[in-house]
């Protein structure tokens, strides 16, 4: 009852608008979140609403709608003679916040259809036209995970001797990419695009916009399964890139079982074992970085990088091979790979004044990435802490994926597992005990509390891995 009446809290409209904003105004995501929320007073946990003209307008419209709905209930009671008008009117008043939570989508949809969509259409049309006239080599990266890391590694390596451009941040939607295309000067030799996949058809749509020359599939797994519903649909969507490329070169991550199993004979497999006839030797990774030797036709090429983990060898090797394909010399490739370093929140190490090493991997929220990182953590010396709120959007695989993380952690003999309470972390605990975990499990109600507590439970020499973030829309 108390939770129901949280809809009558003064923050309610703000909460709805925040949920819309955090869902990037996508009705489907907003409704999924709306369905899960129990207490509307506390939806802003990790982040706060960012006030803009749009959010202020939505709050105002929401308030007007709420007043209108409640007034109509009142009007029904006072001004009509309908049978059951009291019950009906009271029901409308009591249910007005619930009605509002759906009706607030109406003005949004109208704005999107009448204003936003036509503007976007024009922007994308002109971007497509501009890109078609661009002479740079266009590389498209698709996959459930590892796209941004791949983009950054490739950009760093190729930039050693080429003019390279790539959209910043996570610009991977038609609109985001179009905005980036607008900034191009025309003298770029290589353009690298990340293809965001949220629903079937997304990759195909982006391919039509970009018309890539070379493709990369970084891996396929359960990430975003909640949206795709089935893993087959995920595979199909990501392989829209292969369909579009036809005979053009496409690199496929051989370490991803789903990606590998759907690869076709003309595709180029890459992994820590090799790529395109390159063989790997002397692979090593620790907190200082990763090194290995690539060898082809008895010609070795020594690669060093500040990136952490043996799982980085595949993308580094791919970048080296692709750079060779585009005419880079071995010395340029060596220099380029040497410049690659961990990106923010992607296994980025830092050592604090107390001698505690933190590996921030909070942007890594996919099962394959997690497995690779646990393997890396297992190879390190020191007392190891694994801190996680679990992974989001695992859909029907939620339980299986998290149990497996627990089992992996137990097998890796990680000393301390710090879990944040939510709907998925109990599965991690179950997985831990299935493998007879002997370390300590430490629970916190919220991620922020666990971060605040870490300095009090760690000592010099400890290694703390922060795995994934848990945005407010996931409960």
């Amino acid at each position: 009852m108390r939770l129901f009446f949280s809809r009558f809290h003064p923050r309610y409209i703000r909460s709805l608008v925040y949920m819309l904003q955090a869902s990037e105004y996508k009705a489907q995501d907003y409704l999924a979140w709306l369905h899960d929320v129990k207490d509307f007073r506390f939806v802003e946990k990790r982040k706060q609403i960012k006030w803009s003209a749009k959010t202020v307008l939505l709050v105002f419209v929401g308030l007007m709608l709420l007043i209108s709905i409640a007034s109509s209930g009142l009007w029904l009671i006072i001004a009509t003679n309908l049978p059951f008008r009291h019950v009906l009117g009271a029901a409308i008043i009591i249910l007005s916040p619930i009605l509002l939570s759906y009706l607030i989508l109406a003005p949004l949809t109208i704005i999107q259809l009448l204003v936003q969509k036509p503007i976007e259409f024009v922007i994308i049309y002109f971007a497509k036209k501009k890109l078609a006239e661009h002479h740079g080599v266009k590389i498209a990266i698709a996959g459930s995970y590892g796209k941004t890391s791949m983009r950054e590694i490739l950009k760093t390596v190729l930039s050693e001797d080429k003019e390279v451009a790539a959209p910043p941040h996570s610009y991977n939607t038609p609109l985001g990419i179009s905005k980036f295309i607008k900034t191009l000067r025309g003298n770029e030799e290589v353009l690298i695009f990340e293809l965001g996949e949220y629903y079937p058809g997304d990759v195909k749509r982006l391919c039509k916009l970009i018309n890539p020359d070379i493709g990369i599939i970084t891996g396929i797994n359960e990430a975003h399964l909640q949206k795709f519903k089935t893993i087959e649909k995920t595979v199909q969507t990501i392989y829209e890139l292969a369909d579009f490329l036809g005979d053009k070169p496409l690199y496929v991550n051989g370490e991803s079982i789903l990606a590998r199993d759907h690869a076709r004979p003309n595709h180029i497999m890459y992994s820590r074992e090799g790529v395109n006839s390159w063989r790997m030797e002397n692979a090593h990774s620790d907190l200082s970085g990763t090194s290995f030797v690539m060898e082809k036709n008895n010609v070795p090429m020594e690669i060093r990088s500040s990136l952490l983990g043996l799982h980085q060898i595949g993308p580094l090797a791919l970048s080296a091979d692709l750079a060779r394909r585009l005419g880079s010399t071995p010395s340029h490739i060596r220099a380029g790979t040497l410049k690659t370093k961990p990106f923010d929140h992607r296994l980025a190490p830092s050592v604090d004044r107390n001698g505690v090493t933190t590996l921030d991997d909070s942007y890594n929220g996919n099962p394959d990435g997690v497995k690779a990182v646990i393997a890396f953590l297992a190879s390190l010396n020191g007392r190891r802490f694994y801190v996680t709120p679990g992974l989001v959007e695992m859909g029907s695989k939620k339980e299986e994926v998290h149990r497996e993380i627990g089992r992996e952690l137990a097998r890796a003999q990680i000393e301390k597992v710090v879990l944040v309470k939510n709907s998925v972390t109990p599965f991690i605990e179950e997985g831990l005990y299935e493998e007879k975990y002997e370390g300590e499990v430490i629970w916190f109600d919220e991620a922020l509390k666990s971060f605040a507590a870490l300095p009090r439970i760690t000592v010099k020499g400890d290694i703390v891995l922060l795995q994934n973030d848990w945005p407010d829309q996931y409960i």
Binding site: R353, N354, A452, A453, I457, T458, V459, K460
Partner: protein, 382 residues
């Protein structure tokens, strides 16, 4: 649901180290107790005027930032209740009595670290963390410490001392006696911690001036020889019967000796994470292994001879040329429990606080077994 134990953290107080005590209470004590989520934490703050207050918000350091005087005009001081249990009584519309299961003293200097608070807690028959009354009182008095330590055959530098009475009646005679010592000398108020009002003097006039200053701060003043080719080190120790030393730490201060600013202000400003003492010391101290061994041996011996329990920190002066190690002083409540040193030694804040609570409970349990009363027919025979 498990019944949580109630722990009172007492801090502030009528002491020159009042503000430092607030930092110690929060970093690491209260912060860690709240992290543990196993205890009901009751903050008890004593003002510089000696009034005791308690309010939940005092568990957070932000409460004490800026001007805090206004907050106490609206609050009523608490009352102590010593019955079957040690309790505090909070006044209000309806007064509230809170039973305390254990006390965590976080007071530095006078009335807190000098055994006064421990005396109340002993009378209240409540377990408390850290050294007991006698050890605290001896350690608080730098002269008494030297007397006890040297009586046990442990090395201290040569010293003289005087009371305010002597200073007023026979200052010349004292200066004469002190001048026999090897110059330069250190002048220290006997009961003040955190290096407050300590002066290094090179001649008689500087000595007289320094004694004048020191006797303003204390009614007992120590004059001792300085150690040349000085290496200053400190060793935090934890335990009752079985002692666990942290790492030997060497302050890397730029000034001639380890002063108040070095200890608290410079370290504190650099970050709140570790509170104090973090960026200006070497842990473990880079000294020859034989000296480390000697410091560890002496540290434990001093801890035992003073009867310390729970936690204490022993400071040493080393003449790096002659390799002579002298016991300087003992601190029964090191600032912020020297948690930065414990962390560097593999003891997290959580482990440190939990261990100190365990030690307090063990000592209390042992103490309860001591027979202090006996049947007597004395009154019957009257």
């Amino acid at each position: 649901m498990k019944n949580k134990k109630t722990i009172a953290v007492i801090f502030g107080g009528k002491s020159a180290e009042h503000d430092v005590s607030i930092i110690t209470a929060h970093t690491p004590i209260i912060d860690t107790l709240l992290t543990l989520d196993e205890y009901e934490v009751i903050p008890i703050y004593i003002t510089k005027e000696g009034l005791w207050y308690s309010e939940k918000q005092m568990n957070y350091m932000d409460y004490f930032k800026g001007d805090i005087q206004d907050k106490f005009t609206k609050l009523k001081p608490l009352q102590l209740s010593i019955g079957e249990k040690f309790s505090i009584v909070l006044s209000g519309m309806v007064s509230k009595k809170i039973d305390i299961d254990l006390v965590f003293p976080a007071m530095h200097g006078t009335y807190g670290e000098d055994g006064s608070l421990m005396g109340i807690l002993r009378m209240a028959n409540v377990p408390f963390v850290g050294c007991d009354m006698a050890a605290s009182a001896v350690a608080m008095d730098k002269v008494l410490t030297k007397q006890v330590v040297s009586a046990a055959g442990l090395p201290v530098v040569r010293y003289e001392w005087l009371t305010q009475n002597v200073w007023e009646k026979d200052r010349k005679g004292f200066i004469e006696r002190a001048s026999v010592l090897q110059w330069p000398l250190f002048v220290k108020p006997v009961h003040l911690g955190s290096s407050i009002a300590i002066t290094k003097v090179k001649d008689r006039s500087e000595l007289e001036q320094a004694l004048e200053v020191a006797s303003h701060y204390d009614n007992k003043v120590l004059v001792e020889e300085s150690v040349e080719n000085l290496i200053e080190v400190t060793l935090p120790i934890m335990g009752n019967d079985i002692l666990t030393p942290a790492s030997i730490e060497r302050p890397l201060n730029k000034t001639e000796f380890f002063n108040f600013e070095d200890k608290y202000l410079s370290g504190g400003k650099k970050g709140s994470d570790s509170g104090v003492n973090n960026n200006y010391s070497e842990i473990p101290a880079n000294i020859p292994p034989d000296l480390s061994k000697e410091v560890l041996k002496l540290g434990k011996a001093v801890y035992k001879v003073l009867g310390c329990t729970g936690i204490a920190r022993v400071d040493f002066l080393i003449d790096s040329k002659t390799n002579q190690v002298f016991v300087n002083e003992v601190n029964t409540l090191p600032g912020s429990l020297y948690h930065h040193n414990w962390k560097a030694s593999g003891v997290s804040n959580v482990d440190l606080i939990q261990k100190l609570i365990q030690l307090a409970e063990e000592r209390f349990a042992k103490d309860q077994k001591v027979v202090r009363t006996f049947e007597s027919s004395l009154l019957k025979s009257l």
